[in-house]
Amino acid sequence: MTAEVKAAVYPPPAEDEGRDGLLGWLLTIDHKRIGLLTIGTALLLFFFNGAIALTMRAQLAQPNQDILSPQAYLQFMTMHGTGMIATTITPLALGLGVYLVPLQIGAPRIAAPRTTLLGYWFYVAGAIMLIWGFLTPQGAQSGWWGYTPLSNSMYTPGPGQPLWVAGFFLAATGMILQGVTTLWTIFRLRAPGVTMMRMPVFTWAQLVTVLMVVAAFPALLAALLIIVIQRFDPGLGASNAWNFAYQELFWFYGHPVVYVMFFPFVGCVAEALSTFSGRRFFGYQGTVLSLLVFATGSMAVWGHHLFASGQEVNDYFSLTSIMLTIPAGVEYFGFLGTILGGRLRYTTSMLFALAFIPQFLIGGLTGILVANPTIDYQVNNSYFILGHFHYTLLAGSFFGFMAGFYLWFPKATGVMLREGLGKLHLVLLVIGTNTTFIPFFFLGMRGMPRWMATYPSGAGFTTLSLISSIGAGIIGLAMLVLLWNIYVSARFKKLAPPDPWRGQTLEWATSSPPPRFNFNLAYPVPKVRGYAPLFDLRERARGEQARGEQVRAQQAAEGR
């Protein structure tokens, strides 16, 4: 490595080195701290929005209940949906990238760290405004879709809905900023030797994620402006063009965002599977290609949310949506190929990754079902769809996140989590998610629409709803076990070595937690010859050892 390259890769000015305490965190330009702030804030909001969901499940456990008034139910439902998507799962997805991408590509920092921090603060401001709107008497009541004219000032007066618009807008803008800086980091700051085709699967997943953020999120900002315009002139809500334009723009964001909330967790699962299978990820090139195809295709499927609108080209969107089976299938074959050849180690992270495979698959396969207009006409906007996307998001993506959380927690904090509590968390979460969301499919088939604040007793929804509510309670319990695990691990510290799992990617070559500029003289960036550099090094070391033994054996045989 020449001196010039070194200077480019390790810029020494340590402007905020040494600054610590609260201010050191809130004004940090260290991507690790920004990433942890983003993930931490999103996890806090996960508990908040989860508590809201539990309240809704309590309301729906029995027919004709009055725990939440119909109005309050809609406010809770709007907060749960918008909160989970805009201020929880999306920031979890992008925050992981802000934390991990520079480490995985051997970079000392993130590109434009102040912009990344600004993205975090936009996101926090957005979350505060959403919750602020939620706390106003009327709140926002038009769901996370915010369809006009329901969301305009004629049908939802009061400050709650405008605060929802502002909050959603700010949170999305913040995510665009974090996405852009992650993208630029990948393009400009890779360590020598880290070519594009030597980036770990997780970093590739982040790359396609942020490409979708950049391409799709601005459409949401445009859509939200339609609500703003209609709030000034609600008469426009009588014209189909203003409402349908909103729906098109909203779903142009609304579909890619579900893959934004999916790919980073596919990346987590891929890293966990290959690490704990003790081998390289199978079919790396095919998986990378499939991620790119998937991201491109995801921009062309939004219309399947409008099959029942009577104003959409249904065959076209059915074609594009079903076609996504190909890249999704390639990724699944990559997962299965990896574990089929592996010697598996059943850590909590690995178990979450393994559980992700069948659990997400339920969401994926029902997704293919609803890509058929004929099936969608029936199940769209029913509990069947709720079942479908809660399987993708909670039973799927969130399991992927937890696989990553248990994998990288020691790296980020320097402290090991308790494996036993982690496995209890997993078991409870598997039971909880399935008990909650399997009944949703049957409720949908029985004709239960979404967004119902309550339901009559004779409609045949009671038993299934009750089972689902019990499941939601189990999910709540599982998440308390996670909190307990974090508390116990922080209170009675078991320190983490740099590489507790025999990791394969560059973040495991540095200390836990990594130093301010990620790598230093004590922990340099090793030579990168492939997409699993640490695995390559171990393999070569084993090879050299074996050759050495062979030579020694030969020398002994020759009697020297």
Partner: protein
């Protein structure tokens, strides 16, 4: 009334495929766990084969074949649903916050009711005769859904969505609003009642009363 048949056919076909795929993936997971156990017992290392282009092309081809099949099925079912027979009656279905109004076009008759009570509005249709439903809204977006029909369509203000139903026999089924439309969205239930053609003519002429 093609929706029920097409839905039953396609849903059955798709769920069968889905179950097979789900079963195969779960089986593969178990195989991987068994293989790993076997490797550990024999002291064998993990496989060092990180790719197999022939296998990868094979599964891409298999996936593509499946997609072609699924797309053709989707188009076939959707094409059969778009066929519009000549209609005998036209009924305008208007959603509003928070109930429904059914106007029998060409007659002065328009019926409604009270959603959220015992007096749900009833959409009365004749058996065996194709009827065009024109779904629209007078305020926010609603959706007209009769689960028994296996069909729903959005009701937009300033736009009419048309579809044709031919109900084979008499009966009474629940219908619901399937788009969030405000506080009493959950109360927007109605009945779809199918009567004999003779009863239907009477219904049209005596001001919307069924005997």
């Amino acid at each position: 009334m093609p929706f029920r048949n097409q839905f039953a056919w396609l849903f059955g076909q798709n769920t069968t495929i889905a179950w097979v795929v789900f079963g195969l993936v779960c089986f593969t997971l178990l195989v991987a766990i068994a293989l790993s156990w076997w490797r550990r017992r024999r002291g064998r290392p993990a496989s060092d084969k990180a790719e197999s282009n022939r296998l990868e092309l094979g599964y891409v081809a298999a996936l593509t074949g499946m997609v072609v099949f699924l797309v053709i099925s989707s188009f076939a079912a959707n094409g059969k649903e778009s066929a519009d027979p000549p209609v005998t009656y036209r009924v305008q279905v208007t959603g509003y916050q928070w109930c429904w109004r059914f106007s029998y076009l060409g007659t002065p008759l328009a019926v409604s009711g009270q959603c959220g009570g015992a007096q749900l509005p009833v959409l009365v249709l004749p058996a065996g005769q194709p009827v065009e439903l024109q779904v629209t809204s007078s305020d926010v977006v609603h959706a007209f859904w009769v689960p028994y029909l296996r069909y729903k369509t959005y009701a937009y203000p300033g736009h009419v969505n048309k579809f044709t139903v031919t109900m084979p026999g008499t009966g009474k089924w629940i219908g619901r609003c399937a788009q969030l439309c405000g506080v009493y969205h959950y109360e927007m239930d109605f009945w779809l009642q199918v009567v004999s053609p003779a009863q239907f003519s009477q219904f049209l002429t005596n001001g919307g009363h069924l005997r």
